[in-house]
Symmetry: C2
Subunit: 510 residues, 2 copies
Amino acid sequence: MAAQITGGFFIGSRQVQSAERFFAVNPATAEKIEPGFSVSSENDVEQACALAGSIFDRYRAISSEQRAHFLDTIADNIAALGEIAIARAQAETALPQARLSGEIIRTANQLRLFASELRDGRWQGLRIDPAQPDRKPLPRPDLRLRKIPLGPVAVFGASNFPFAFSVAGGDTAAALAAGCPVVVKAHPAHPGTSELVAAAIIAAIKACGLPDGVFSMVAGSSNTLGATLVANPHIRAVGFTGSRQGGLALMEIAARRAEPIPVYAEMSSINPVILLPHALERRAEALAAAFLNSLTMGVGQFCTNPGLLVALESPALERFTRAAAGGLPQKPAATMLTPGIFANYNAGVARLRSAPHTKTLGTGAESQGPNCGQAFLFSVSAADFLASPKLAQEVFGPSSLLVRCTGDEQLPAVLEALEGQLTATLQLDEGDHALVRQLLPVLERKAGRILANGWPTGVEVAHAMVHGGPFPATSDGRSTSVGTLAIDRFLRPVCYQDLPQELLPPELRA
Amino acid sequence: MAAQITGGFFIGSRQVQSAERFFAVNPATAEKIEPGFSVSSENDVEQACALAGSIFDRYRAISSEQRAHFLDTIADNIAALGEIAIARAQAETALPQARLSGEIIRTANQLRLFASELRDGRWQGLRIDPAQPDRKPLPRPDLRLRKIPLGPVAVFGASNFPFAFSVAGGDTAAALAAGCPVVVKAHPAHPGTSELVAAAIIAAIKACGLPDGVFSMVAGSSNTLGATLVANPHIRAVGFTGSRQGGLALMEIAARRAEPIPVYAEMSSINPVILLPHALERRAEALAAAFLNSLTMGVGQFCTNPGLLVALESPALERFTRAAAGGLPQKPAATMLTPGIFANYNAGVARLRSAPHTKTLGTGAESQGPNCGQAFLFSVSAADFLASPKLAQEVFGPSSLLVRCTGDEQLPAVLEALEGQLTATLQLDEGDHALVRQLLPVLERKAGRILANGWPTGVEVAHAMVHGGPFPATSDGRSTSVGTLAIDRFLRPVCYQDLPQELLPPELRA
């Protein structure tokens, strides 16, 4: 596999070049990066989707072991991408090298975890009700259930994880594991990285002798491209990680199709962190330091960034705010992923800063280059927060808002007023347990993951992970985009009644 | 529990009477049945939903065993409804007594099966990834997953199963089992039956000491009522069985909410039956007789009625059509559920009858009373069928269309052209296996349940049942409305990260 960037997109294994081009921009220098990338047309999208549809039955018919081997091969190819891919991703995203090399390992391990899940077999959800020929008043037929893949899946690469949530990220891994061909729309902010990863997948398809069309990748910077992809009748499900506006647009397109399809859009979360009284009393300063690390990690560009702190007024809370405000200036501004994300971040910060009842508690070091996001911490009273729902809107980047509650009843009221979240975090000590017991039912209704004494950034790829949550954290809180349970989003159950043994799928035979 | 009909609806245990009234109509006599039924207002809907929302956390917090006991108690109460309920249901639906008493048993057994599923515990989908404190480069946190209920569920009673798919039917049983309070919209065709069943549920809530509001039932004959219910912000999911038009309307309302919610609408299916050559050759006449029974059972008013036959032209197919046409006149016309269903059935039959390329193969005995549906069998060539997509639209009632294929390639083409289905049935012999192997991948993509040598009517309530299927059979092919897997439609996963043991849900503790 030659790791070279040609600027083409992929209709199956066929790399396509077009006259119309778009360019990646290095956010650290605000300069274009060569080469230009070919823009996929509506016809290209149709071809990729039709190809995926045409080989769907062949791909889903291969054994779990063959599919597992395929995922392992993609993992090997991605792990082998090496310096060229890291350098390209660094130029396209301004993310640090260590983070990117770690993300490549995470991406490969994620594929390998799905491979092991395939070998385990649990994903098929097999159920058997044997026939009861002598049952009265009527005999019971033989019923056997397995889950099968939905069909070709459209995956939208995310800007903030150029490997782990992009071309070969969680949704692609889950869909391919489920037996669904994948058509990726590359994120226009990192087209070169996308091409390298796409080539690694195509190489694995060839090496494993799988049908051409199991994977395609279209590219372009217009919203129309994504809309065309979601509307294509061959596409049977959508995976998306991005803005609320973008996710809502895709949900609407999917709902209006002649045949509506599921959309798994991860959109918007402010990830409340509740600082409980005893925990604050015992370790206000340590919590402040840990909070600042979570807030500013990756320039705050995580879906699970702690954008909201909730606490009861107390002297210990003052210690926390002093420590946080004091530590913030030591946090350097750093380049954000794209000029657009930087502009949106500044607009969000300006909104919080100029809101009538917020105070600026502290600011990070000032920006020093293009697209450098500066950290911010604001505060507001619970009463004002409850009266201003807009304060709870996500600001994607290293900004957070402390909501100060007076009296125990304001704490659950603030949580109850929140929209759906990916995560909710409790900083607690044993003395806080009674209060936490009151809050847990609210948090369960609001979030997909509840953490104690950790920080929401850092999402483990595991069997019990839920990276999801009620709307608008995601479009479908019944699902997760990280962890092995993610395979379930691309499956549906089929029941076989009284089928002769030799016609049954092998896994359902006696 | 007094089995008496007052004409009221239920906001929790409070029975409400209103000035505005509507009446059930006896379809066999076309006469109104007393008493009049109170029409729920928008404010009544809001009250019922708000009550459900207010006790959701309390209801979901009770143990699986308590919930199982509650379902068993409802089952006991329904099984005890007896003659009054059967007589009332018979007057409201014209369904025969034996069918209705069997349906009561089915409804009670369905509740008991969910009770046993709750005791089994599998429904929670528990997953545990223990902490790995020594893992490099970072320790792994402790991750524990369980599924929790979505919240209050709106259930629309269906006309064709006044017990088993209505007030205490599959969706209600699955939702209550999952821990979701339920607000039923009673089907306006059987309000008296609905009231009796609702009272049985309310009595169980009292007997089990559960919070008032776990169950409410609103009533009325306007579409606005259902729209108001689905739009209510307390409602978190919808279960519906009915027409395609009705289901699509609810899907649209749900998608336009500030917080979109899942809709499980079972809408439209013609349930293809493929008569394979060797099976036809060996038993054309027996197949014809069995087909006519399935077609006319319950005046064809099943979601799984065999509305389409597909076969290759052959002398054996002629034997089948002769036998079917010959047997049809012995099938009496019988009263359909409502004047509206009867009118729609006649319109559908007229559409098939007058279509340019169809032939009428046979007709059942002529109608003899009001709303009596007569059976029909039509035929059409595969080429004409493929050219006229409207011929594949559901005609709810005892009408079926035989599609005659010439050449092996027309058979898969006809199946490929079908929309999503609840079921697909294969009448096959050993000599047909090779051909069936070609068809199975298509059928898996099209249907939720694939049967061999049976008939699609008669849906077993079991662990491995799938009563669902791709759009438009249902709005969400990832789910089933019958069988224990139905509980999953009302659940979502939550992950607990590093929670102290005593704060974890009991089922997730060490």
